[in-house]
Symmetry: C2
Subunit: 706 residues, 2 copies
Amino acid sequence: MAHIFMATNSRNSTNRTARDDEGNQQKHIITVPWRRIERLSLHLNPSPNHHNLSQIEMLICAGRVKKIDVKVAELSSFMRGKHRDIQERVFEYFKSRPELQTPLEISKDEHRELCMRQLVGLVREANIRPFKYVVEDPAKYFAIAEAVGSVDMSLGIKMGVQYSLWGGSVLNLGSKKHRDKYFEGIDSMDYPGCFAMTELHHGSNVQGLQTVATFDPLTDEFIIDTPNDRAIKWWIGNAAVHGKFASVFAKLMLPTHDTKGVSDMGVHAFIVPIRDLRSHEPLPGVEIHDCGHKVGLNGVDNGALKFRSVRIPRDNLLNRFGDVSRDGNYTSSLPSISKRFGATLGELVGGRVGLAYSSNGVLKIAATIAIRYSLLRQQFGPPKQPEISILDYQSHQHKLMPMLASTYAFHFATLHLVDKYCEMKKSHDEELVGDVHALSAGLKAYVTSYTAKSLSICRESCGGHGYAAVNRFGSLRNDHDIFQTFEGDNTVLLQQVAIDLLKQYKQKFRGGSLAVTWSYLKESMNTYLSQPNPVTSRWEGEDHLRDPNFQLDAFRYRTSRLLQSVASRLQKHSKALGGFGAWNRCLNHLLTLAESHVESVILEIFIEAVRSCSDEGSKVALKLVCDLYALDRIWNDIGTYRNVDYVAPNKAKAIHKLTEYLSFQVRNVAKELVDAFDLPDYVIRAPIGLQAADEAYSQYTQQVGF
Amino acid sequence: MAHIFMATNSRNSTNRTARDDEGNQQKHIITVPWRRIERLSLHLNPSPNHHNLSQIEMLICAGRVKKIDVKVAELSSFMRGKHRDIQERVFEYFKSRPELQTPLEISKDEHRELCMRQLVGLVREANIRPFKYVVEDPAKYFAIAEAVGSVDMSLGIKMGVQYSLWGGSVLNLGSKKHRDKYFEGIDSMDYPGCFAMTELHHGSNVQGLQTVATFDPLTDEFIIDTPNDRAIKWWIGNAAVHGKFASVFAKLMLPTHDTKGVSDMGVHAFIVPIRDLRSHEPLPGVEIHDCGHKVGLNGVDNGALKFRSVRIPRDNLLNRFGDVSRDGNYTSSLPSISKRFGATLGELVGGRVGLAYSSNGVLKIAATIAIRYSLLRQQFGPPKQPEISILDYQSHQHKLMPMLASTYAFHFATLHLVDKYCEMKKSHDEELVGDVHALSAGLKAYVTSYTAKSLSICRESCGGHGYAAVNRFGSLRNDHDIFQTFEGDNTVLLQQVAIDLLKQYKQKFRGGSLAVTWSYLKESMNTYLSQPNPVTSRWEGEDHLRDPNFQLDAFRYRTSRLLQSVASRLQKHSKALGGFGAWNRCLNHLLTLAESHVESVILEIFIEAVRSCSDEGSKVALKLVCDLYALDRIWNDIGTYRNVDYVAPNKAKAIHKLTEYLSFQVRNVAKELVDAFDLPDYVIRAPIGLQAADEAYSQYTQQVGF
């Protein structure tokens, strides 16, 4: 929590009035907080107060302040995605089947079975079939995933494993023969499957996978082998209990006629049956173990797979990007191992899009619970007055209001990402592919890290009642936690963003065109790298600070400077350290650059969303949270801005002051802002977070038996 | 993650060499990271590298760098507390009774029973009797609590409820008659009991409790009543299942002869039997419900208590600070409700001391697991070289090394607090009481918040394997989470620190003496409030930055400025807003002040600990982590220092650079530094965190069944 010293000139004049005879010196410098001090330290009823109460109330209690007129229905309708209808079908189905609701206490094994029943029920009973949307209409698929995740995140992930990972690998990496053979079984849940990429020793470094698939031209088969324990497929969802097939990622080895004997063609994916379709017993050569309890998501049956000379037909190679002929010859439309590997991984980017989107869904639930409870909960208050809501405390606003602003920011950013992804799936435009790849990496990393931290803050801000399991922060945090790691570790993904930025930087100096998301950099490289303007760096007016142009300029200036300076540092260090050493030496810097860029992109999308809103009340509210998002981020990195005199000392203070003021203003419409997320009580479930605030405590006491 | 822009002058000259003909321009500005970019984005084998490998290894791999010579045994012996022997008895006992070990999966009800068996076993079988140490030798009590908490934190908390809260209230708030009657039963676990303070609607604001105890002179009894559902005693440990008694905090009401009928004498504590000693049934008028599942600590049976005209003998008033005679007259050695209430709460400060101490115990376990795994785990590496440990990445050092430094810092600070607390319990010196009160509030808040955040970082830094329940981050986080809330919400406790600082500030200007912990402020108020020295603000040398005098000066300067400026702001705002409004308007500022002060105190104790270490190797290592602690904190708030020109821009950069370098140096002795915590594998338990690194993976694979 950074804090700029408040300058003061009153030191000498005021302190000197402090004397021992307290009775006669009611106005010396430290008298003022005295009543509060006594209250807090001795829990005393203070002496009668002399100040103007209406003024206090005006400043700390929301009721009397002229509020922004937000109509929840209007704002909600502006926010609502195209696929709200199917989400409501999901909610209705599970609401109608209470026996499918996950109880607070459930054993791992029961949870896995329940989760399977939930998924089968969704598909076969409610007839919601996510698989067809994976390719056809991904936005609809993501909407289902978000809704299902809010029922039980284990179900969301199990569905993702089945349709996006296992199913997606068949659709995206295979060819027509695979779709014809597997589509129906995957869609109907007759063929539950796994996505077997990660190994015990290799997660992020997929290139380092050691499982091998050797072609045997005599039998026209591939032989799948786990060469050592380090290469055991680990954390494979659906493997421990339910999976019948797995997409196994392995190095394709082809026999050669030279002394080497085999040639490594790089990592490819293969469909490997792992359990008998009838008996459900593991097939010969397939050793399966249960990875056991996890921090969360215990409804998903993650397992470990070890292969010993498991033979599969040649047809089981998912051959979209590379194929092997009957006589063992390799063909591909792509010229190199690297291109094929890039294309293969590129097809899996949908998982990241879905995680960024669902992560914001989790944040919406948590923020709603925490904010509703903080409005309801009262503790302490002005002397002789009723206690006030804890959300009326500046410290509580500081914890929750920038978080609420970020939730809105991420809402528009992740919707934008989903749109871009859908566009890409249709057009296959190469530039768009690169754009979506970097944007999904950046947003997945940034949003999931932010949500993870926020879940803890939400729990803390609800105190003891936030610790009741029924109020959900524990399970939300435990289930969401791994979002930061799977589908690409966040630290690695941010490096991919940095890599892309450096590519763009290179591109610029070659005169090439820039991808859409980075187009601001083209301008910035010319504009921003001069010294900051000594005049604007002193502008402190609210109009200026709330001007989107100032905010965007500040974000982009920072990104551009970081990009330019890290490029220069990489060059400098590479002489002594080589490429790898230089990269590592600048790693913190590179991660900061990536985060700064993602923040810039989010702000740009947010500003555009505000502009496009036609309902006046909603627009004012959105502009308010957008400004808070922007200024809070600038304030969080004020050291950077100060160090290059992009902002003068007094401007820094003005930004801080305005951030606190905007937090207070957002607090005044906080109820409306969370109501506009339009999450029904069935989805919220936490007694302290239900929409009808007056029922919250009684729900809570009834729930324990009173 | 703040980041100062790296200034560069090479922009114009170097960029211009970038051209389209890449082949001929191998040295332009962005060629350098290219190999790394290709590796990461395409997972390609890069082209052969031309740089000097021994230099890379020197800079990123620890092996070749001249290491500080730390002898684990020496450092460990310096760190070891006086009561290691009894901790080892705890470990030995539970190691010898594997059936008492808490399994990964256990239902709430089974967990509670197991936890009770653990506690009874400890007391009756291992004959470790914590109760006698609560007053006699609190340091020994805290040592037992830390050890027991590392077996299962539920057990640690259940023990705390029984001996520190329930038992402690009898010993500290009662008189000889209570000790005589209850000591034996509490000590032996025949009288399991509760500490019934918190109500559904009142946690932090204890003064607002609404439960009443009305004296009935006819029967010489108190009548305990819950006037409404808001006053139900909530979250009461030991209440749901095991408790037979409760210390109930209630407003003491005495009959008067005027029209009011009764007079409120303020909150007092009463011993209320809640279950029949033989049948264990709830007693008449006592309604007990189970608060149900919690985020963690499910081995503790928290319950809710509602009283309907429950009659208890007059003798059950815990009467140390106030008593009622047979004829209903009130007597007290203390003159006012506030003094009595302050004295009552003051006796309960031991709980905070224990939490700060145990929280650091949790942090030691988590940091050990995360650091050992990060040394073991390898992922990516320089071209054509083996993969490197993930702790060799700058970003990973950034996550874990300042955390390790803080763990050391908190070790010495919490030991110091325990010593002060023991001294206070002996001397009852009033100044010391105030000192311990503020220090325990500050350290409890600061350390538990830091640990909570760090547990998440530890999980993330271990990636997927950190998500396996067996590796413990989930249960450590879930169990520890509430440390931030109970025994005083951290945000409220930090305000108590701020209050104390303002009192000291007032004191200074009255010419009074300052409490020991704050003595630096006396000097600071004179020295630090002048403008920063423009010469020293430019000093950038390593010797200067690692000079404890510079570090202490920077910390204290910040605290002093914050104190002075907040006092001035409080004065300013109070005119319009009154005391309460002004306090709220400055709340973020006040919390920053409190944190800044706590950090200053921790640094001072750490510097003293380094000075007092006589083993040369240990001293060098401790100095290193102490410097990292200090500079990392300064860097985290660099905006503040920059804004008043306490440090010049280049000095800010030098601090950042040195922080990264010190993190790298600490990484080189990280194994020794965690080994020196001397936590046996029995306590660590996580397969990925065991001392013999080469066994970690095989332990892990065996554990799932391979």
